[in-house]
Amino acid sequence: MFDRRLAGNFDWTLLALVLLAAAVGIANLYSSTSSWNLSGLPIYMKQTYWLAIGFSIAITLTILSYRHLEHMAAITYIGCVSLLASVLIFGKTSMGATRWIDLGFFNLQPSEVMKVVIIIALAAYFSQHESNEGYRLKELIAPGLLLSVPVILTMKQPDLGTAMLLLFIGTTMALFAGIRRYALTILALLSSCAMTGGWFLLHGYQKDRIRTFLNPERDPLGTGYHIIQSKIAVGSGGLWGKGFMQGTQSQLSFLPERHTDFAFSVFAEEWGLLGCILLLSLYLAIVLRGIYIARKADSSFGMYLAIGVTAMIFWHIIVNLGMVIGLLPVVGVPLPLFSYGGTSIVTTMIGCGLLLNISMRRFIF
């Protein structure tokens, strides 16, 4: 079972990068919530505890080979899809969306778990149906279905951000697996039609967000407020930043959601472009390390799994940052290791655990 050689192959680089990013994130949370007078544990301490929990899970996961997951792909997929469906029926409603299942001690958000589960399912599928010349259209029907069921269920909640991420992760994996050019063209056409049609299926507030994204000044105190305030925070940070805990936008509460989705705005305001470039480099390094791990993976399943996990982290970063600096609409996607939230940090750490798992078994055949 557990091979002592595994310890020698442990990917300290990835672990260091991830823990560094998480540490910067916690310091940033300390700053953004310093003016809060909440009773109980401060936010940054909670985040630290969540990180510790996530870290423990990740390390524990490395003991068992990721390869077992391949056999569990079907059952976890079915289980998680059922959970998603049950959320729609029994879930807890908060702020107009039904996303959680109350487990008493913890609010489980199945759509988050789905991100990891879909990666395992697709990795299993692609590794079992390898095609050297790229997939034909009809070969993509099965993975397409695997992907669309959770995507549609998530959109139903409605959670556009997570649905979009599931779609991005799946698409990235499929593109990596290879698609024939004609199939790609047809899919591109189909998806642009779907996007046009999808507009009419969006909820009012979602349409508002997109309209406001296109023109934030349309409603400066309503839905555009987040984007405007975030851009002001980021822009006013300048090259050098206002200094740790000195951001006026964040410290004076102009920034909404500054400990969750807009945590990066606080960082950008206080650390400036220099800090941002360093942080971006750190994230890029994690992503590139993920790709490297995929490349060195000892099995096809491991490779796809690593690609999927990396894609998950990558798209979270891109969508969140794109959102806070006004390149993408506000969709409520957290920045991994940076935004406050137990589910997000645990999911990210499970992903990292998988990467570590794949990485340390690369020389063992």
Partner: protein, 625 residues
């Protein structure tokens, strides 16, 4: 496209990884470029925006509804006042700021800090008021030094103003900051800490009408808290306008007529129950309370032996003295125990059992009939009559004329007075009723207690021929745009069912009080208008064994606080009555000489104004401002 073209699909695995890494780098570069654009190219612009864009919702206090008199003349309104407030999030050094502020405002540092802490639960963007009603010079000083006073705001707020100061103060009552306890009450559920509410009088009882709806403004403030731009304004809605039945000039005249004397006066329109004037002296200036009274000022008011906070017109309970004699006389005629022309010989005293009850005139009035008894206030006549009448029938008439009850005016502490009978005495003292008590009740002494309002109602009921009108104070309530919400019409409580012939004898007696050479109230006679009245003296301390009307006691020897109260009730014109007055001058000694002149001034003023020739004209909602 050929189906089995071996082209890009055939990318070797290595190439795919490279593409993936390049794609990742590409996306990150996009983010980097965007960040560069925001944080370098447009940074100045965003820095400016961040400096300037501090948006706040600031509540705008709504002015309380104004109070007008019956003709729409202003009695109570609001004036703009400067309030110095602090916006905490703009403050870096609280101690230093308070020290500077204490100097500029000439206030106590600890007091300022206490006010600051009192409102610490306000949301951060909400300014905390530190000092109300700051004068213009101080405001200028503060503005000049605004650099040193970062976080300090000067706001203009409506402040309750009572342009006639003490006049009708007890009617208006006062306002004050809502307390934490009141905030928890259901009826204040939509109030906030720092709001002012009516604490007494009309301000309290008409609170739901007087209170306006606060507005709200969204303002942009810069780093220093200076207002830059106003986004939206939801203007405040002023409270409702209250039109009282008071006649402003009559009220002022009546207040003035008292001079330094304490006491109370009520003037009623006999034909509908409108309260035209209601005076309680001494009074207080309600403006003292408009932004919180100091403890010192409060102590002064509370410790004043003349009770300036008491609304004596409705809550002062006094023995009615001889003004009660109409009750005894009417009851006697009504019950047929005596006829108007029956003669009773007054020898200066009546003996009941082993007790002797004196007439105020020691030598006695001699042969006395009803009219003479009223005119000269012969006590013996009433003693004798009361012995035939008994307390029950006498008290029934008192209640019939409107005594011994309250009228539920929208004011505080309206007292019911006391009209005694056997049941009451048994319940109260567990003792039987004695004849001697009937005798002194006949001249309004002993247990009998009345308020000036009740005496005015009684006089008014006699004057109008026996109709007991509900006295009222509020004529109508209007929305600020003039729409009428509520209007009061005359309300008859009951018909006293008096024999008009009996009533005529009483009224003739009352006319002679003023217009007969031997009348006790002849000093109140007017030239053009015939006044009918009754004087009275209410004992404060029993000087001798028996009741006296005072005239033959050496007043100089009696300490002021022990002197009798002077009473005077009257109506005019005698032939077709319009108004009735009841006046009490505390420790004024003689009704005729102390209270009578006040009534005279009231009548003179009333009949010299347009009210003499016609009924008051309806003046819909116009004010004199």
């Amino acid at each position: 496209m050929a189906l089995n073209s071996p082209q890009p699909d055939d990318l070797s695995r290595k190439q795919r990884f490279e593409w993936l890494a390049l794609a990742a780098i590409f996306f990150f570069s996009l983010l980097g470029i965007r960040l560069w654009s925001l944080q370098v190219i447009y940074s100045d612009q965003y820095q400016m925006l961040s400096q300037k864009n501090r948006t706040r919702y600031i509540p705008i206090a709504a002015p309380r509804g104004p109070i007008y008199d019956r003709d729409g003349l202003l009695l109570v309104d609001n004036r703009p006042a400067f309030t110095v407030s602090v916006l905490r999030q703009e403050v870096t050094d609280k101690e230093q700021l308070l020290t500077r502020l204490a100097t500029y405002l000439n206030s106590d540092w600890h007091q300022l800090e206490a006010d600051w802490n009192k409102h610490r639960y306000y949301p951060q963007y909400r300014p905390i008021p530190l000092k109300h009603d700051v004068d213009r010079t101080t405001v200028e000083k503060l503005s000049e030094n605004s650099i040193d006073l970062s976080g300090i705001l000067i706001e203009v707020q409506p402040m309750r103003a009572y342009p006639f100061h003490e006049a009708a103060a007890h009617l208006f009552g006062h306002i004050g900051a809502i307390t934490e306890k009141e905030l928890t009450q259901q009826r204040f559920s939509d109030y906030h800490a720092g709001d002012f509410i009516g604490k007494s009088g009309l301000e309290k009882h008409l609170e739901p009408y007087l209170r306006g709806i606060a507005g709200e403004k969204l303002v942009e403030v810069d780093v220093k808290g200076k207002k830059l731009r106003q986004h939206q304004v939801q203007p405040p809605l002023p409270g409702k306008s209250i039109f009282l039945t008071l006649d402003r000039s009559l009220q002022l005249q009546a207040e003035q007529a008292f001079g330094d004397q304490s006491g109370a006066a009520v003037v009623l329109d006999v034909n509908n129950g409108d309260i035209l004037a209601m005076v309680s002296r001494p009074a207080f200036d309600p403006a003292l309370f408009a932004h919180g009274i100091s403890n010192e000022q409060w102590q002064t008011l509370v410790n004043n032996p003349d009770h300036p906070l008491q609304a004596k017109a409705i809550s002062g309970q006094y023995p009615p003295g001889s003004t009660y004699k109409m009750v005894t006389a009417l009851a006697a005629l009504h019950e047929g125990v005596i006829t108007p022309n029956d003669i009773i010989d007054c020898e200066g005293r009546t003996t009941v059992g082993n007790r002797s009850f004196r007439c105020w005139k020691k030598r006695g009035h001699g042969a006395t009939n009803l009219k003479k008894a009223l005119r000269e206030s012969c006590d013996v006549w009433f003693y004798e009559v009361s012995l035939k009448l008994g307390i029950e029938r006498m008290s029934a008439m008192a209640r019939n004329l409107g005594l011994g009850r309250s009228y539920d005016l929208p004011l505080d502490n309206e007292r019911p007075g006391l009209i005694p009978d056997k049941t009451w005495k048994r319940n109260r003292y567990n003792a039987p009723w004695y004849k001697g008590e009937t005798v002194i009740a006949a001249i309004g002494q002993g247990y009998v207690l009345t308020t000036p309002l009740q005496l005015a109602v009684m006089t008014s009921t006699i004057a109008n021929g026996g109709t007991l009108y509900q006295p009222h104070l509020i004529k109508r309530i209007e929305e600020f745009d003039g729409q009428i919400l509520k209007q009061t019409s005359p309300h008859v409580l009951h018909d006293s069912d008096l024999n008009q012939q009996d009533l005529r004898y009483i009224k003739e007696g009352m006319e002679e009080v003023v217009n007969h050479p031997r009348g006790t109230g002849k000093s109140s006679a007017l030239q053009d208008v015939v006044v009918a009245a009754k004087t009275g003296t209410a004992q404060v301390v029993r000087l001798k064994d028996d009741p006296v009307d005072g005239e033959e006691v050496d007043v100089e020897e009696i300490a002021y606080r022990h002197r009798d109260h002077a009473l005077f009730v009257a109506y005019a014109p005698a032939e077709k009555p319009q108004i009735a007055v009841a006046i009490i001058v505390e420790h004024g000694q003689h009704g005729g000489s102390a209270a009578g002149p006040i009534a005279k001034q009231i009548f003179t003023h009333y009949f010299e104004t347009q009210h003499a020739v016609q009924q008051p004209t309806e003046n819909s909602g116009e004010s004199d401002v």
